[in-house]
C-alpha cells in the first residue's frame, strides 16, 4: 500500500509519511501516508469531515503537521506558508475561492502572484494560459458579475501562471454544471500529459473513476485504502469511503399526489443588491406528500427564492404565494410559520441558526410561534429547553444538551438539529436549501430519511440543491433554476442528467446588463 520514495516508475513527486494533525476535540489526520507520481492524477477521496482539506492545507503551507514528514522529489519538504509552497511548485485551487468581489479579473490574478508584474504583461500571460488550456474569460470583468464556474477559472489561471508541478484541486466540481465538469477534465488531462501531477480531492465517485489514475481513501482522518479507480467501481470505493453499508433512504412509490399545498404564481423580485439575482416569474405547485426538487448551480437565485418563500423578502402581491389556498405573499416569516410554512436556509451558522446562542435559544428563534413558546411576548424558557431536548433526542444530535452553543456542534449535527427543529413543528410546507452541504455521510442519510418521512406524512417538501445525485434520489419532480428563472417541472423518471445539465448551464448568473453571451452548447 505504501511506497518508498522510489516507486517502480521513479521518485514520487510528493510523498507524505505519518502525517498527524489534531485540533481541540478532534484528530483531523492520523498517520497519513500519501504518494503522488509525476504526471499522475491522484484522487484524495473521503466524505465530508474525513480530513482531506486539513491534509492539503498542510501540503500548501497553511498549517503545519504535528508530526510526520513530507518529501518533494526525494528531498525533505516543509512549507512554512503558501508562498513557500508556490515557490516549490505547488499550486492550489480551493473549494472556497480567494477572490475580491469589487476588483477585476486581472487584479485578482495579480494578487495571487508572488511578485509584481506590469498590468499589460500580466494581461498577455493570462490570455496565453487561457488559450493554451481552453479556459474562456474576459480579463476585464469585475468578479461580482461572474458565475461560480467562471470564478473557478480565475483560480485555475492563477495557479497555472506559476507553472506548477503539482496542482491541488479541492472539490472542484460541486459548483459546476455537467458540461463544465467535462471542460475541466479536458484541462486537467492536458496538464497531466505535460508532466504536472494533480491531487484531486472529491467525494464524487463516478468522477474519480472517470478521471483518476490512483486514489487514496481517507476515513475519520486515517488512510483506509489506496487503489486504482480504473479497476474499482463507484460502489466498491464508496464502501471503502463510508465503511459500512448505509441503507439507501427508502422512498416508496408516490401513488397519487394529494391536493396542492404550496402554490407559487409569477414570483418576481428585483435584485436584493448589486451582487444578487432577480427572480423572474417563477411559478410552480407542490402537492401533499410530494418532494419537489429545484436543481441549479450556485448563484442562480436559490437563496433569493428561499428568502422569498420563507418570508424574509416580501412579495409585491399577497396571492403570489399560497399555502393551502391562503394567500401569504405579504406575510413575514412569523405569520408564514403560523400558516404552516417552515424553511431551512443554506447557511447554517448565521442564517438558520445563531452560533453564539444555545440550542434552546435557537429552537425558540424559529419555533416560538408554532410551539407556543412566546405567551404574551414573554419567553417560555422551560418550554424552549424541552423542545430543544426533544429535537436532540429524536434526531440523534450529538450535543451536550439544550444549553450547548450551536457553534460548538459539528456541521452535520447542527444541520440535523436545524432540520429536526423545523420538522418537529409539523409544517404543511417545508422548503430546504442545500440540506446536506458539507455534512458527513451518516448525518446526510438521516436528514434524507427525515425528509422522506415528512413527505410521507402529507406535507409538501421543496428541496433546493446543487447536488443532482441527491435530488435524483429524493425527489418526485424536478425543475431547474437558472438566472432567476425556473424551468418547467418534470417527473424525475422522465428526465436525464444531460438534459438537466443543459438547463443548469443555460446562461450565467451575470447581471442582466453584462452583455456577455455564451454560444449554445452542443
Amino acid at each position: 500500500m505504501t511506497n518508498g520514495a522510489r516507486s517502480r516508475d521513479g521518485i514520487a513527486r510528493l510523498e507524505l509519511r505519518g502525517i498527524t494533525k489534531a485540533f481541540p476535540g478532534v484528530i483531523a489526520n492520523s498517520d497519513v501516508h500519501l504518494s503522488v507520481k509525476p504526471g499522475e492524477i491522484h484522487a484524495l477521496l473521503g466524505e465530508n469531515g474525513a480530513g482531506k482539506s486539513t491534509l492539503v492545507k498542510m501540503i500548501y503551507g497553511i498549517m503545519a503537521p504535528d508530526s510526520g514528514s513530507m518529501m518533494w522529489e526525494g528531498q525533505d519538504y516543509r512549507a512554512s506558508n503558501p508562498r513557500a509552497a508556490r515557490k516549490q511548485g505547488i499550486g492550489m485551487v480551493f473549494q472556497h475561492f480567494s477572490l475580491f468581489e469589487a476588483m477585476d479579473v486581472v487584479e485578482n490574478i495579480a494578487l495571487g502572484l508572488d511578485s509584481a508584474i506590469s498590468r499589460s504583461a500580466l494581461d498577455r500571460e493570462i490570455r496565453a494560459v487561457m488559450d493554451k488550456y481552453g479556459l474562456r474569460l474576459d480579463p476585464r470583468r469585475i468578479i461580482a458579475t461572474l458565475s461560480v464556474g467562471e470564478r473557478q477559472r480565475i483560480e485555475i489561471v492563477r495557479a497555472l501562471l506559476l507553472n506548477p508541478r503539482l496542482l491541488i484541486m479541492d472539490e472542484p466540481t460541486s459548483v459546476l454544471t455537467p458540461q463544465e465538469v467535462e471542460d475541466l477534465f479536458v484541462t486537467l488531462r492536458r496538464l497531466a500529459s505535460e508532466g504536472c501531477s494533480i491531487l484531486y480531492i472529491s467525494h464524487k465517485l463516478h468522477e474519480i473513476v472517470e478521471l483518476c489514475d490512483r486514489a487514496t481513501i481517507l476515513r475519520g482522518g486515517k488512510v483506509v485504502a489506496t487503489c486504482d479507480p480504473r479497476k474499482e467501481t463507484p460502489r466498491s470505493m464508496g464502501e471503502m469511503m463510508i465503511g459500512s453499508d448505509f441503507a439507501d433512504p427508502a422512498r416508496g412509490p408516490v401513488s397519487n399526489a394529494g391536493p396542492v399545498r404550496l402554490a407559487v404564481r409569477d414570483l418576481s423580485l428585483p435584485k436584493p443588491d448589486d451582487f444578487g439575482v432577480a427572480l423572474q416569474s417563477i411559478s410552480f405547485d407542490v402537492h401533499a406528500g410530494e418532494i419537489f426538487g429545484i436543481a441549479g448551480v450556485a448563484g442562480n437565485g436559490q437563496n433569493e427564492l428561499l428568502d422569498a418563500l420563507s418570508g424574509e423578502t416580501l412579495s409585491a402581491r399577497e396571492d403570489v404565494i399560497a399555502i393551502d389556498k391562503n394567500a401569504i405573499g405579504r406575510f413575514g416569516p412569523t405569520k408564514r410559520r403560523a400558516h404552516g410554512l417552515c424553511a431551512v436556509p443554506e447557511e447554517r451558522n448565521g442564517h438558520a441558526a445563531i452560533g453564539n446562542f444555545t440550542l434552546a435559544d435557537n429552537a425558540f428563534l424559529s419555533a416560538r410561534t408554532r410551539m407556543g413558546l412566546d405567551p404574551q411576548g414573554m419567553i417560555d424558557r422551560t418550554g424552549a429547553e424541552s423542545f430543544a431536548q426533544t429535537i436532540i433526542k429524536r434526531f440523534s444530535v450529538k450535543a451536550l444538551g439544550p444549553r450547548a452553543l450551536a457553534g460548538s456542534l459539528s456541521g452535520g449535527n447542527l444541520q440535523k438539529f436545524i432540520m429536526g427543529r423545523e420538522i418537529l413543528q409539523n409544517p404543511s410546507v417545508l422548503v430546504i436549501c442545500q440540506p446536506t452541504w458539507g455534512v458527513d455521510a451518516g448525518s446526510a442519510a438521516a436528514i434524507h430519511q427525515a425528509i422522506i418521512d415528512l413527505a410521507n406524512s402529507g406535507s409538501a417538501v421543496i428541496v433546493i440543491s446543487q447536488d443532482l445525485d441527491e435530488l435524483l434520489r429524493l425527489c418526485d419532480r424536478l425543475a431547474v433554476i437558472n438566472g432567476g428563472k425556473l424551468s418547467a417541472s418534470r417527473k424525475v423518471n422522465d428526465v436525464t442528467v444531460d438534459e438537466l445539465g443543459l438547463l443548469m448551464g443555460g446562461h450565467h448568473a451575470a447581471t442582466p446588463t453584462s452583455g456577455e453571451h455564451h454560444a449554445p452548447r452542443a
Binding site: 498527524t20 442564517h351 445563531i354 446562542f357 428563534l365 424559529s366 414573554m378 450547548a404 452553543l405 460548538s408
Partner: protein, 358 residues
C-alpha cells in the same frame, strides 16, 4: 513552551462578572504608575480619585447625583449595544431632552399644578427620542451609519442650546448671562428624597434597572435585540424586523437620555452653557463596563460617578488637573474591551512536543 489562545466552547460566566472588576483594579494600579511618572504622588492621587468618594459618606450624595443620569442613559444604550447599534450621540439626545423640558417650563412659567412635572418628564423623553429618530430614519431609509449621524447631531444640539439660552429663552432677570430663567416650584422635583439625601434621579435609575432587566432577559423583544446583534440574517429568518429594532433601540436610548436630561435640568434648576456635561459619552463607557446588562450598568454607573467626584477631590487635594478623570474613564474602557478576550478565550500553555497520538 508557548502561550496559546484557545476559543472557549461557551462564554465564561465567571469572566463576564470578573472582568469589569479586574479592569477597574487594573486601571487603578496603572494610575498609580502613571501619576508617579508625571510627578504627582501616584498612590494618593488614585486613592482620592477612586476610594475617597466611596468611603467618605459626605460624598455619597454627589456620587448618587452623578450616577443617576449615567445609569439612565447607560440603560438605554445597553439595548442598542446588544443590537450592535451604536448611539454615540446620546449626548445630543440628552441635551435636546433638556431643551424640550425647558421649553415646557418656559411655556408654563406662570402656571402651577401637579401636572407640570410629569409633563416635563414626558416631553423631555419625547424630545430625546425624537432627536434619536433622526439617525434611526437615516439608517433605515438611507443606510447612513448611526455612529456618524448621531455624533454630528451632538454638535448641532450644542449650537441649538447656545442659541436658545442667549436668545429667546434668556433669563430677563439674569443680568444678561447666557442662561434660562430658573425653574419654578411646580417645575422642580425635590432635590432630595426625604431623609435619605439621595436625589430623585437615583430612584428613577433603580426602577429603570428593574424594568430593563425584565425586558432584556424575559421578553421576546429582548431576545430579538440579542439576535440582531449576533446574526442579523438569522434574526430576519426568525421573523424579527431589523428596521423596527433600529427604531426601537435608538428611540429607547434617546428617550432615556432625554429623561436623564430632564432630571438633570431639575437638579440644576436652569439651563446654561455649562449644561453639556459629557454624560452622554461617559454613559457609553458605563454601558460597556456594565456589559450591557441592567444590573451591571447600575454598578458601572456608580463606579464612573465615583471617578467624576474623585476627579474633583483629587484636584483639590493632590492638585492633579480635572482632565484626569476623563483619562481614567478612557483607560477603564480600554481595559474592559481588552479583557473581553478572557471571556471568549482561554489561555493555555502548550509544550512543543505533540501531545496527541493517533
Amino acid at each position: 513552551m508557548r502561550l496559546v489562545l484557545e476559543k472557549r466552547l461557551e462564554q465564561s460566566r465567571t469572566m463576564v462578572v470578573l472582568t469589569p472588576i479586574l479592569s477597574v483594579i487594573g486601571v487603578m494600579i496603572l494610575g498609580v504608575i502613571i501619576f508617579d511618572a508625571i510627578g504627582y504622588d501616584g498612590f494618593d492621587a488614585v486613592w482620592q480619585l477612586f476610594i475617597t468618594p466611596v468611603i467618605d459618606t459626605y460624598k455619597w450624595r454627589d456620587v448618587a447625583t452623578k450616577a443617576a443620569p449615567l445609569i439612565l442613559i447607560g440603560l438605554g444604550l445597553s439595548i442598542g449595544n446588544r443590537a450592535k447599534i451604536w448611539n454615540i450621540g446620546a449626548e445630543g439626545q440628552y441635551i435636546v431632552g433638556a431643551i424640550s423640558a425647558a421649553g415646557v417650563a418656559y411655556a408654563t412659567q406662570e402656571m402651577s399644578g401637579f401636572w407640570i412635572i410629569p409633563l416635563m418628564l414626558i416631553i423631555g423623553m419625547a424630545g430625546g427620542a425624537a432627536y434619536a429618530a433622526i439617525p434611526a430614519g437615516l439608517k433605515t431609509r438611507y443606510g447612513v451609519s448611526e455612529v456618524l449621524s448621531s455624533l454630528m447631531l451632538v454638535y448641532v444640539s450644542v449650537q441649538l442650546l447656545s442659541y436658545l439660552i442667549t436668545g429667546p429663552w434668556k433669563d430677563p432677570n439674569g443680568m444678561n448671562f447666557p442662561q434660562t430663567a430658573q425653574l419654578t416650584a411646580s417645575q422642580l422635583l425635590p432635590r432630595e428624597l426625604g431623609e435619605t439625601g439621595l436625589p430623585p434621579g437615583l430612584l428613577f435609575a433603580l426602577v429603570g434597572m428593574i424594568i430593563f432587566a425584565i425586558i432584556v432577559d424575559r421578553t421576546v423583544f429582548g431576545f430579538s435585540i440579542r439576535a440582531i446583534g449576533e446574526a442579523p440574517q438569522a434574526a430576519r429568518f426568525g421573523g424579527f424586523n431589523s428596521n423596527r429594532i433600529v427604531w426601537a433601540a435608538l428611540m429607547i436610548s434617546g428617550g432615556m437620555a432625554g429623561l436623564a436630561g430632564t432630571l438633570e435640568l431639575m437638579q440644576l434648576t436652569r439651563l446654561n452653557l455649562g449644561y453639556p456635561s459629557g454624560y452622554g459619552f461617559t454613559a457609553i463607557i458605563v454601558s460597556l463596563l456594565g456589559r450591557s446588562h441592567p444590573f451591571g450598568v447600575f454598578v458601572a454607573g456608580i463606579v464612573l460617578a465615583v471617578t467624576y467626584v474623585g476627579g474633583q477631590v483629587a484636584q483639590t487635594v493632590v492638585h492633579v488637573p480635572n482632565a484626569t478623570a476623563g483619562l481614567f474613564q478612557a483607560l477603564i474602557l480600554f481595559a474592559i474591551l481588552a479583557s473581553d478576550l478572557f471571556v471568549r478565550y482561554r489561555i493555555k500553555i502548550k509544550s512543543s512536543v505533540a501531545e496527541i497520538r493517533a
